[in-house]
Symmetry: D2
Subunit: 384 residues, 4 copies
């Protein structure tokens, strides 16, 4: 009954591959049965062995994997592929597996160009495949509670959105010190045209869209490369005009020395405000117009069906990043499997269109920065 999945990327030293595997394993809904874990075949073999895979299904390349799996019986071959490679490979890998009829769970940013992103949108439709993009932060139950309350009008008319994503891990030229993660993320050939916006700004952008339902209409971006010798921006501020003229401010920084993974969303409406911080992810602060606050905790005062459907533990038992991530995996599994139980929120995962929105946003921010002015940023990806 478990979903059979394979993985592309995610060999030794790749933090995010391990996260995907834990997220898939948590609820017992997936079984990892195949993989091309590295562009280096021997590294792929080692990874497959450590993961206890059948050696015949540990592949030298994703192309080989797609072809060989396609040759297996329907009962055996993978149903889903998890793509956890550097950004520049997402498109080719996803394209290959979509054409082989495999559903896709792909890390973000979806692709390095808008054209590639739209190509994947088209292919997902054409082949009727599910395509999830792991904007994992929207997987937190209390973020879902925020969404329900904001969209339900609890804050009144939305007026201002402030989203910040601050990290400090790139405050030195880590890419020159042999740090694998830093190497590819700061390399235009593998990361694409953006560092901070691609790596973390796209999460912030997706979080705003998810909670408010508002799309960016116009933007002004100011990008900076603070660390000498770096090739892409490591600090970015983007002023947003959201639908309805709502004012927005998005900042993404990877040179905010000492910051760990500080993603914070605040929304102000005519009746009140809301504040969520990813490092304290079980808690949602609602700010009343009189200056008092109401603090909800996951499973304590978070009363929406949507939040409860994505919660595993009683209140006071902290859930974390893996559980949020696992909510994407579980919803994909529930969309694939009818287990006889209604799962009204099974479609609650970021889609290929959400991914395309992110890629488009990054490109518009770069455009604004280069032009030095506001640009139109409205967008509708294909295949919605």
């Amino acid at each position: 009954m478990t979903v059979r999945y394979g993985m592309v990327g995610g060999g030794a030293g790749a933090f995010i591959g391990e996260v995907h595997r834990m997220a898939a394993a948590l609820d017992g809904g997936y079984q990892l049965v195949a993989g091309a874990f590295s562009s280096n075949p021997s590294k792929s073999k080692v990874a497959g062995q450590e993961l206890g895979l059948d050696p015949s299904r540990v592949y030298d390349s994703y192309q080989e994997m797609a072809e060989s799996e396609y040759g297996l019986t329907e009962e055996d071959r993978i149903e889903v592929v998890s793509i956890v490679t550097p950004n520049h490979l997402h498109h080719a890998v996803a394209r290959t597996f979509l054409k082989a009829g495999v559903h896709v769970i792909c890390d973000k940013p979806l692709t390095t160009t808008v054209e590639d992103a739209e190509d994947l949108c088209d292919l997902a439709v054409k082949h009727s495949r599910l395509f999830a993009v792991t904007h994992s932060y929207t997987g937190y139950p209390i973020v879902k509670e925020a969404r329900e309350r904001v969209r339900g009008g609890e804050l009144g008319e939305i007026r201002k959105v402030v989203v910040e994503y601050s990290q400090g891990w790139l405050s030195t030229l880590l890419e020159a010190e042999g740090h694998k993660q830093a190497e590819w993320r700061t390399d235009p050939d593998r990361a694409g045209i953006s560092l901070a916006l691609g790596d973390i700004g796209s999460h912030a952008h997706n979080l705003v869209r998810y909670v408010t339902g508002l799309e960016v209409q116009r933007l002004f971006a100011d990008l900076g490369t603070v660390v000498d010798g770096r090739k892409l921006e490591d600090d970015a501020t983007v002023l947003l005009e959201l639908e309805g003229g709502v004012r927005g401010l998005l900042s993404a920084s990877q040179i905010s020395t000492g910051e760990r993974n500080n993603l914070r969303l605040r929304i102000y409406g005519s009746n009140g405000g809301l504040d969520w911080s990813q490092e304290d992810p079980n808690r949602l602060r609602l700010i009343e117009a009189d200056g008092s606050e109401r603090v909800l905790h996951r499973a304590a005062g978070a009363t929406s069906e949507r939040a409860r459907a994505h919660t595993r533990l009683p209140s006071g038992h902290p859930e974390g990043f893996i559980e949020a991530f696992a909510n994407i995996y579980r919803n994909v599994a529930r969309s694939l499997r009818s287990d006889g139980v209604a799962h009204p929120f099974a479609d609650d995962f970021p889609t290929v269109q959400d991914g395309a929105h992110g890629v488009h946003f990054i490109h518009k921010a770069l455009e604004s920065h280069h032009q030095g002015g506001w640009v139109d940023a409205s967008y509708a990806p294909p295949g919605v």
Copy 2:
């Protein structure tokens, strides 16, 4: 390569069984292959089916399970049993499986009497089986960091320990309203002689022992039953004298209305203090003698080998209760399996002797309360 395990208890509505299963699944180290999930055979069947088990290994009773599994080949039968029943069954179930050569992971409190606890200590030794008790809160990496620092002398000579565990979920007579968890936990026949101390005080007691390495020598307990109609204490204060005359204060309450799962440990030494709260589990506050503080975060400034060995994610990516719980499971698996990699902290899980300490503590607290005075509480369980 995965460890085959079975489960006793943990059917529908049993929160803790699901936690054990997620903890076992997280790292891909276990496979659930058998179970007796309920004393009601048909409920056990349903649970087994939902979990995708081979129906032939879903049993009507734990006795049948032990016997049948024993009849399977060594390659097939369960290696570990997870016991997640109400307290009064722990002893009989554990005894049965130990005698069948199965390693045990048992929920707390270990047993309802000291004699039973010691019997399990003896049996574990006699049959050379691993026996873990899921005092899960010691599984948090930053708690392990605290242990290293406290035992390494960073606070100087330890002088005072304050541990508090406050919940509010039993602030009404929930057991009269058909709440399953409340029913058995407040029922002397199934829970044993204690409610608050057994259910949560034993965690607090274990946490103190784990971090400080100090045993309780004497204690004075004052127990109260605050909610009318309840049969066991729902609020307890225990004054401790730890080894070396260290002053201690342990409180456990389940009628602190609104408190979620507020387990907090503070330790004061001659050089500084330390403060940890379970609801903010990635953070450790070190208090300097000058009144300034140093705040460590899991994977950020928590530098001990022990902490890092139990961490899965980069700093700023919150880990939670399940990950802490999974550290017990993973260490048991690492103790059972030699995967060629050295795991120097594989023995870092609460043992049957730790469980016996907890049961003894509960009984001594009751004794003190009934006598109205301090009692000797020193103890050495068999089989260390």
Copy 3:
């Protein structure tokens, strides 16, 4: 129109004298016109000069001060005396000035014996003088909000009270290092029979009484002297039985290394809980039964008349310790002066009877500790 006051004690190096002077000055309601600032006449002179007093009203002793001031015209002589000496002098000084018809504002603990405390109660009645004791922490507006809500029934029936006062400043033998404050506070001849309970436990006790309106009926105390060479207890735990059988826990420690001035009150009722910390004094956390919280801020969501009457600034502009202290001074002034405006809460300051309650509490705690058992602690001071 300002109140003329004199001060006994409060010369160089005496922190609390300066606090009283700032509290008196803040609202422009007092004028310091006389003083006997030290038992050393030349030190008194210096202090008086620095404070800009008329030298003829800077006295060598409090006796001289009382006598001389009494000889002045009614328009000139002091109306109020502030007593900020070490504890052992409070009684004699207060007695002297009461008999001279002067109102008294006295630091805590009121006296070193219950007999002396009751003597002052009697004298205040006999001479119809106001007598305030500076249990300053009840001066915070948000504590007053807590009082209104607790007494108004918002938490339902009160069930449990936890009050803690932790400091670390006496975690070394500071009294042996020439530290003036430490010297007298740890000296039985000047401090009385208690250190931690007298110095800070009495504040905690008063805070409980102020907010809940419940008196201590029985108590069990365990006192410890943690720092070698100290003559009085520096760490104390007191179990309380409040009126109606409400369970209480009071701890006072001055050896909790690194703690600054951590006074915290929590109250749990049948409907919810409440949490206040003195180091974050503008904020009150209300805990709902469902585990969510409501956070009030002074002047933001704190809606009681009593809280607002003791607030000076808009919300978000922090008020602190001096402002709380000044609320005692201002209320005494308002009780003395009719300025044509109704001040319905002008009597909201700790009285001589409150002070007597504190002294009685300290003595009962010592008695319990020496007996090793619970003692009756009910009490009604004279003159209520």
Copy 4:
């Protein structure tokens, strides 16, 4: 020995006048002896009476006050005038008193035009008068500690500054509801060309300059008027380029519903970061490069001479807004009076030049907004 001062503005309903009076009174260094408290003579009379002033020194207008006071003897007349009127009067009032030889303490923003600000700079020099502008937030001791550490190089090379000032009190059209404060602050005739930047953004700007010592070189501003019917901006985002190319982000909002008085400063350097929030003003968070934190508290771990010189209470005894404000008043008094004690930081108060910087900043932000692009914002006011 106290400084005689008069006040212009600050009658009934004027919050800030009362703050000035409490700040002046706190340390006993000032005596209020004269005032023109309202443009309405009868209101001025009432205010003067309530404050206990000699009726002959309660004036109908500031012009009359300046003239009459000038006619008094040097021992009697005011030495300092506190100007707490709406913004548009600051210039004329300050000008008048400077010419009369009176030192000035003026609320912010200094004036409504740059020309007026520079005129005051010139006059202060010409008449050798002290001129303080009450950018009160730099009066907090821990802000001074931050300054010492930042300027002393503890964070390494400064790279990024984020300052935010969010309030919610103008999230409705309060000026249409008879709210006096809202009326003049939102009225271009009385407030000048800016609302949010003038009222609070100027504080944020001054805080950055005070702590870092860096001036704004270029800026890009986006202003918004969120509440319908309002005449000036109530929400502003300003991108800064500070000296040395340091990236900065300043936001000021008065429509962030529910926010009280949320002024927060973060600074990131090559070695670490720093975080301070005005609503928690005794605490300074230093962020280490490894992601751990060090939290200083006023008088606890805040070790600079500058911080200690502006602290009144032991650690753990919260100081607040009034104490910060009083540090400006006390330093002005110490600059005026030689009391025989060295006060090395007596010049630590915001000057007329600081005020001019603020006015210039506001005007440049408006210019940028209207041009839709970056503008040069470098500036040197006269008379430094």
